[in-house]
Subunit: 186 residues, 2 copies
Amino acid sequence: MSAEERRESVIRAAVVEFARTGYHGTSTEAIARRVGVSQPYLFRLFPGKQALFRAAAERCFDRTAETFEAAAAGMSGADALEAMGEAYSLLIRDRDVLMLQMQLYTAAASAEDPELADFIRRRWTGLWDIVRGRTGASDEELTGFFGHGMLINTLLALGIPVEDRCWNGFDGACKVAAAEVYAQQR
Amino acid sequence: MSAEERRESVIRAAVVEFARTGYHGTSTEAIARRVGVSQPYLFRLFPGKQALFRAAAERCFDRTAETFEAAAAGMSGADALEAMGEAYSLLIRDRDVLMLQMQLYTAAASAEDPELADFIRRRWTGLWDIVRGRTGASDEELTGFFGHGMLINTLLALGIPVEDRCWNGFDGACKVAAAEVYAQQR
DNA sequence: GGACTAAGTTAGTACTCAATAACTTCCGCG
DNA sequence: CGCGGAAGTTATTGAGTACTAACTTAGTCC
């Protein structure tokens, strides 16, 4: 396998492991084991653990941005906003993407490398700009949209059952998505 | 100092340290140093690191619950809801309370002890019930309220500057609170 | 076929960290 | 005074962990 292909599979493994146990809770050993490669070899492909984490973060943001862009393609206004919401609920059925997002929110504050924190901020506001640019939504609509999304993230991360009262305010599509997340075997 | 007083100061230190670097990123050494006590002595006061984390989590939930209760005292309906929102924005000026909350959302999923995950879920839904019980708000109002809160948490955790477009949809009180959080020297 | 290179390994190092064991200090009380 | 207990310490251990150095294997091109 070429180094570039390996790097790709390492990133995918890093996304999974960092999503589940966070930066400090994840050993490079765990990532290597998932890839099926020796642990020291990771350091041939990436300069260090931080670079692995950053690559995983980048992948996570890329996927979300692409999801938003694709959903809104050929649409505008309220239709685009609704499509993006729907697409997002599909995206986070991948529990690792969801959890890595949550990990990034805390990682930004405690990042020993300020450049990483800055990167996370820039990418996150980038998502905001995508939604705003594609929908032309008002500030209030945007905070409503992202607030709604953050609450879903939190409920899923916490593992609040779909039958719980906390899910009452959500529409059927959200609940179906949530049920599917929980059905995922780990 | 009595063991009980020490335990109290240890919990306060644990809240700070776990909030800043998470469960795995925090060493018991760091907590002990903040308390001004030797590291092994922590294990006389608490059975292990997990117990420290749980005590910190408990403290964090207690403070939030008390804040909600106090704000809504003698009020009801929309007034109570607004008072709770206002009180919350004051609470999270304590950046450690804010960040520990964020840490808990990821900790629940990766907790090696399922009882801890369950505890976090129970306490979180407990907050939901407090707000619902004191205000009688509809399901949609509740998801709006908590979604709004979660978005604020995220923006603050990421360190998005108050001048940023992401803050546009928030009222003046929120922005003032945010500015104060950032003004906090660490 | 032999040299070069890319992909990958094993062995090892220096360090950190949670937890234990055994010792010390000091206060109150008879 | 002396003694018991509570509040703390130092020393240590054993298990991880990020990362380095040096070696191996296999395909490719001349």
